[in-house]
C-alpha cells in the first residue's frame, strides 16, 4: 500500500474538496450578482442572475464613497507605511545582528516582548501622544503608528534572516573601502530579498485592511481610507443593499486582484512569517 490514495478514492476526494471550495465562494457570488440588481429585484430573489446587468448602483456608490479619494488615501498610507517599515526594520535588524552590543540586545529583547502587546492595550494613550506631538488626524500620524506597531515583528523576521548571510561578503567590500551604508544598501539589502518580499506582502495586506486604528486616528472625512469610507456608507445608508453591495464589490476588488497576481508569494510569505513567528 502506498502512502497516497488510489485513483478512485482520489477522484472522490477531489470532488468533495471542490464542492467545499464552491461553498466557500457562495458569499462572493451573492454579493456580486446582487450588486447589479435594482432594489425591488434584489428583494424578490437574491440567488438569481440579474435580469439586466445595470451599472447604476456602481455609479451612485462611486460618488457617495468618493472612491478615488479613498483609494488614494489607502494607497498612500499602505505604501508609505510598508516602505518605511521595511527599510527601518531591515536596517535595525542588520545592525543588531552585526553589532550585538548590550544595548542592541536589550532593544531586541524588548521588541520580542512587545510582540504580545495587543493593539487594544496601547490604542487609547497612543491617540493622546499623537495629539501631543501634533500628528493626530493626519496621514503621517497613522503611518507612524503602523510602523511602530509593525516594527517588532518585522525586525524579528529580518533578524533571523540576516544571521544566515555570511559576513565574508561584507568584509571584502569593507576592505575595498566601501562605506557601511553602501555595504548595507548595495550588498546586504539585495540578499535579504526573500524576507523582504514576505515582510512587504504581510504588512501590505494588514495596512490595507486595518480599521480600528484608522477609525481612531483619521477623523476628517477627506482622510478616509477605503475601510472608513465603507463604514460611513453603511451607517448613513442602512438597508440600501443595492448601493452597499456595489460599494463592497469595489472595495474588495483591489485586495482580490492583488492576491491573484501575487498569490504564490503571499502564501509562501504567510508560511515563512508564521513559522518564524
Amino acid at each position: 500500500m502506498s502512502t497516497f490514495l488510489n485513483r478512485y478514492k482520489l477522484h472522490f476526494v477531489e470532488v468533495a474538496v471542490i464542492l467545499l471550495a464552491l461553498l466557500f465562494l457562495i458569499p462572493f457570488y451573492f454579493v456580486l450578482v446582487n450588486s447589479f440588481k435594482s432594489m425591488p429585484e434584489l428583494l424578490k430573489n437574491t440567488a438569481s442572475i440579474p435580469e439586466i446587468w445595470r451599472l447604476a448602483n456602481y455609479q451612485r456608490a462611486w460618488d457617495i464613497l468618493n472612491l478615488p479619494l479613498a483609494i488614494t488615501n489607502s494607497l498612500i498610507i499602505t505604501i508609505v507605511s510598508t516602505v518605511g517599515l521595511t527599510t527601518i526594520a531591515s536596517m535595525c535588524a542588520y545592525r543588531m545582528v552585526r553589532k550585538p552590543s548590550k544595548f542592541n540586545n536589550i532593544i531586541f529583547s524588548l521588541f520580542v516582548a512587545a510582540m504580545v502587546i495587543p493593539i487594544q492595550a496601547i490604542m487609547l494613550p497612543l491617540v493622546k501622544i499623537l495629539n501631543l506631538v501634533g500628528i493626530i488626524n493626519s496621514i503621517p500620524g497613522l503611518v507612524i503608528s503602523y510602523i511602530g506597531l509593525g516594527i517588532a515583528f518585522s525586525t524579528f523576521l529580518f533578524h533571523g534572516f540576516v544571521k544566515s548571510i555570511p559576513y565574508e561578503i561584507e568584509e571584502s567590500a569593507i576592505i575595498d573601502g566601501c562605506s557601511p551604508y553602501r555595504v548595507y544598501w548595495s550588498i546586504v539589502f539585495p540578499l535579504l530579498k526573500p524576507m523582504t518580499v514576505t515582510v512587504v506582502l504581510l504588512n501590505t495586506l494588514w495596512f490595507w485592511n486595518e480599521f480600528l486604528l484608522a477609525q481612531l486616528i483619521l477623523l476628517k472625512p477627506d482622510l478616509r481610507t477605503i475601510q472608513l469610507a465603507i463604514n460611513s456608507l453603511f451607517s448613513e445608508y442602512t438597508k440600501q443593499w443595492d448601493l452597499a453591495l456595489a460599494a463592497l464589490v469595489m472595495s474588495i476588488t483591489p485586495a482580490i486582484v492583488f492576491f491573484f497576481f501575487l498569490q504564490r508569494h503571499i502564501i509562501e510569505g504567510v508560511t515563512a512569517g508564521a513559522v518564524k513567528g
Binding site: 504580545v116 480599521f211 463604514n231 508564521a274
Partner: protein, 293 residues
C-alpha cells in the same frame, strides 16, 4: 572622539535610531502612559486627573458585569473558533497534499477570504444572513435558513463563528500544508509496511511530526480571535443586547462612549495580561510536545 559620517555613533544612530524612536513613541510611551491612566479617574478630555490607585481595577473585578460578560463571550467564541478553524483547516490541508489536479486553485480559493479585512467581511455576511438566507429559505424550506441569524443571542454567536471560520481556515490550512509536506515520505511508508492503518498513521506518525505547525496555528487563531473587533463591529455591532460585544469593543466603548478613559485603560491592561498569559501557556504546552529532529 571621532564623530564623522562613518563613526560608530553615527552608524548606530542611522541604523537603529529610527526604529528605537518610533518604537518608543508608539509602543513604550503609550504602554507606560496607559499604566498611569489606569490608576486615574480621567475622562479623557477634562484637565483634572485624580489619582485613584487601584479603584478602577476593583471596579472592573467587583462591579463591571458588562466587562465580565464581554470577556466570557470572547473566551467562549475564541475556544469555538479556534477548534473549528483548526479542524477544518487541517482537514482541507490533509486533502490538498494528496495528488489532486486542482489543488493549487483550490488552495487559492480557500485562502482568498483571508486577504479581505474583517470590516468588509462583516458587511458582506450581514447581507448573506439577512437577505441571502431569506431567498434560500423560500427555496428550500430548510429551517437553518429561516432563523433570524443576527437577531437572537445564540444565532448571532454562531453567525460570528461561521464568518470567522470561513475567513481563518485558509490561513491555518496554508501552514498545515507546509507542515504536512515536510513529513518524510519514508516514515509514513515504513508505518504502512508494518501494517498500520491510515488513521493510525495520522495519529501516531503525522500528528507528532507536525506539532510545530499546530503550535503556530493555535497561537495565531487564539491571538487573532481574542482581539476581534472589526467583525463584531460590522456584523452584529455587539448586539443583540450587547451579547456579542468583544473585549476590544468594550474597551473602546468605555473610553469613547462612556468617557471613562481611566477605566478603559485599566481594562486594556487587564486584557493585555490575560492574552499574554493565555498565549504563553498555550505555546509552552504545545511546544513541549514537539519532536526535535
Amino acid at each position: 572622539m571621532h564623530v564623522g559620517k562613518d563613526s560608530k555613533w553615527m552608524q548606530q544612530l542611522v541604523f537603529i535610531g529610527p526604529a528605537v524612536l518610533i518604537f518608543s513613541l508608539v509602543i513604550i510611551a503609550p504602554f507606560l502612559l496607559g499604566l498611569y491612566y489606569s490608576m486615574t479617574d480621567w475622562n479623557g478630555v477634562s484637565p483634572n486627573v485624580n489619582w485613584v490607585w487601584f479603584d478602577n481595577f476593583k471596579k472592573i473585578f467587583m462591579e463591571d458585569t458588562d466587562f465580565a460578560s464581554s470577556f466570557w463571550f470572547t473566551t467562549k467564541i475564541t475556544v469555538t473558533i479556534v477548534i473549528l478553524t483548526n479542524l477544518l483547516g487541517f482537514f482541507i490541508a490533509y486533502m490538498l497534499v494528496q495528488k489532486l489536479k486542482t489543488r493549487n486553485m483550490l488552495r487559492s480559493i480557500f485562502f482568498m477570504p483571508n486577504v479581505l479585512g474583517g470590516l468588509l467581511l462583516g458587511f458582506i455576511w450581514q447581507f448573506i444572513f439577512v437577505r441571502g438566507f431569506t431567498t434560500l429559505g423560500a427555496y428550500s424550506d430548510f429551517f437553518l435558513f429561516k432563523l433570524a441569524w443576527l437577531g437572537t443571542e445564540a444565532t448571532a454567536f454562531w453567525g460570528l463563528v461561521i464568518v470567522s471560520v470561513w475567513q481563518g481556515t485558509g490561513y491555518v490550512m496554508v501552514i498545515y500544508i507546509a507542515g504536512l509536506s515536510n513529513v518524510p515520505e519514508d516514515l509514513k511508508e515504513a508505518a504502512y509496511v508494518d501494517g498500520a492503518k491510515r488513521r493510525q498513521v495520522l495519529r501516531h506518525v503525522i500528528l507528532p511530526m507536525i506539532m510545530s505547525s499546530i503550535t503556530v496555528c493555535l497561537f495565531w487563531t487564539i491571538n487573532h480571535t481574542y482581539k476581534m473587533y472589526d467583525l463584531n463591529y460590522s456584523l452584529t455591532n455587539g448586539g443583540p443586547f450587547r451579547s456579542t460585544e468583544s473585549v476590544s469593543m468594550n474597551i473602546f466603548i468605555e473610553a469613547f462612549a462612556n468617557n471613562r478613559y481611566g477605566l478603559g485603560t485599566a481594562k486594556a491592561f487587564i486584557f493585555f495580561v490575560a492574552v499574554a498569559l493565555i498565549t504563553v501557556v498555550q505555546v509552552y504546552l504545545t511546544k513541549r510536545r514537539e519532536i526535535r529532529m
